[in-house]
Homo-oligomer: 261 residues x 2
């Protein structure tokens, strides 16, 4: 089956039925994918405020009603407890287990936060013939913890995580303009060229994902990353939280192009 | 004194000292102004969620910490209880009084929401020689209740309020592009040309503000308006709320241009 040309609702059904349990990169070309954070209502205000104060790393696409598994805006009727291929369950900030279905963990006080994903702007970069190295090399994007503090809110605090793409020098302005048009999926880069200035001391050793080749004439460019909220949730150690597993995203009904407007 | 060329902190000091108590239109050219809603913490989650779900009418520029009078982001150290020329106090959705200082009403459970204002994009329209009729005619912008429902959140619900500017037909595309660049101050129009389609049956009788002349060859263009959150607060009848008085805005340290990025 060609998952790139299937509709989001077709793919979500296969995920719900347990027939897709792997990463979602490349599925449903043209449609936005989203990061997930689920928290109990008593922590939801702090996290919603954290996202408002850190829109570059935590651009919210939808926040569910309390206890409501079905989404309303980015994928009407999708079930957040079953429609992601792989989830992670955290207690006190520690990863406890991974599971393909969180129905049995669902509680009436859960709130789901869906956060934009840079998969959307990568499609736009490729469209403009700007290379996306980890796609070329068939691996995960390299991600790094930085020394850039997020603005804290309530119990939530931590530094920004960034994703890195090596960009040919002459294409940097265009890559900034293209990603800058899409603030709901992280927008323009947070840093260009000097990893050590943002606390990254070994570019060859990403904290998440895989290293990619940086070629002669290319500069490492760093974008705010959707792993930031997961990282913040882990650092802030809430009693209970659920996220998606990295790369195993929620596929929305929203076309990437519409995220600009 | 020339309030257009003074700095935001100079003007805020005059406001704090009670020497400016009138509307702020035209003050501190180039700097963004903001709408205010103050609510007790127990209603803050619902309102923050309402704003997240209705970013066109309620674009948040800053949300204070609970009980904190001093702002941190859009005007570091400004006192939200004294630095607005005129406030409105509502009980159960009813306007109870207006006052120039809310210090004596301040409570440790208050949260302040600062919301973007279309004054910012009006400066950009004028810069591009697009007429802004209510500025030409020296009156308030006409505002109307519509039949466009906001997405509800918790106790908060209500229809969108829009502001209207008559735009010469040939300048409509440019006015859309300019305002579309500034989503944090309401962004592109929500409707163009047929007031009755959005529930406005008498263009000559705005629900707020003043009527302006619509000339031959001009079309009424409607933008989401910062009065929406006030209107929603009134319709939803929270036990207690404070807002700014219309036109008497909070002047931020943020340049309008920076709202684009």
């Amino acid at each position: 089956m060609n998952t790139a040309t299937m509709t989001p609702s077709e793919i979500r059904r296969l995920i719900r039925d347990g027939r897709i349990t792997g990463p979602t990169a490349g599925m449903c070309a043209g449609y936005a994918q989203a990061n997930l954070v689920v928290l109990p209502k008593e922590l939801a205000y702090d996290f919603l405020l954290f996202a408002q104060r850190n829109p570059k790393s935590c651009p919210l696409l939808e926040v569910s009603d309390t206890g409501e598994r079905l989404l309303n805006t980015i994928a009407k009727g999708a079930d957040i407890a079953t429609d992601i291929p792989l989830y992670r369950i955290y207690r006190d900030g520690n990863l406890e287990q991974e599971t393909t279905d969180i129905s049995e963990y669902w509680r009436g006080d859960f709130v789901s936060f869906l956060i934009g994903c840079s998969f959307s702007f990568e499609a736009a970069l490729l469209e403009a013939d700007i290379p996306v190295r980890h796609i070329e090399e068939g691996c995960n994007v390299p991600m790094y913890r930085t020394n850039i503090p997020c603005t804290p809110a309530g119990i939530f605090h931590g530094n920004m995580v960034v994703s890195m793409r090596p960009i040919p020098m002459e294409l940097i302005p265009r890559s900034i303009l293209i990603t800058g048009e899409m603030p709901r999926v992280h927008g323009f880069p947070v840093h260009i060229g000097s990893p050590e200035r943002i606390g990254i001391h070994n570019l060859g050793q990403p904290d998440y994902g895989d290293m990619v080749t940086v070629r002669d004439g290319e500069v490492p460019v760093f974008w705010p990353c959707g792993v930031t909220p997961q990282n913040v949730v882990m650092e802030s150690r809430p009693p209970f939280a659920i996220t998606h597993a990295p790369g195993h995203m929620f596929i929305t009904d929203i076309k990437n192009t519409l995220l600009k407007y």
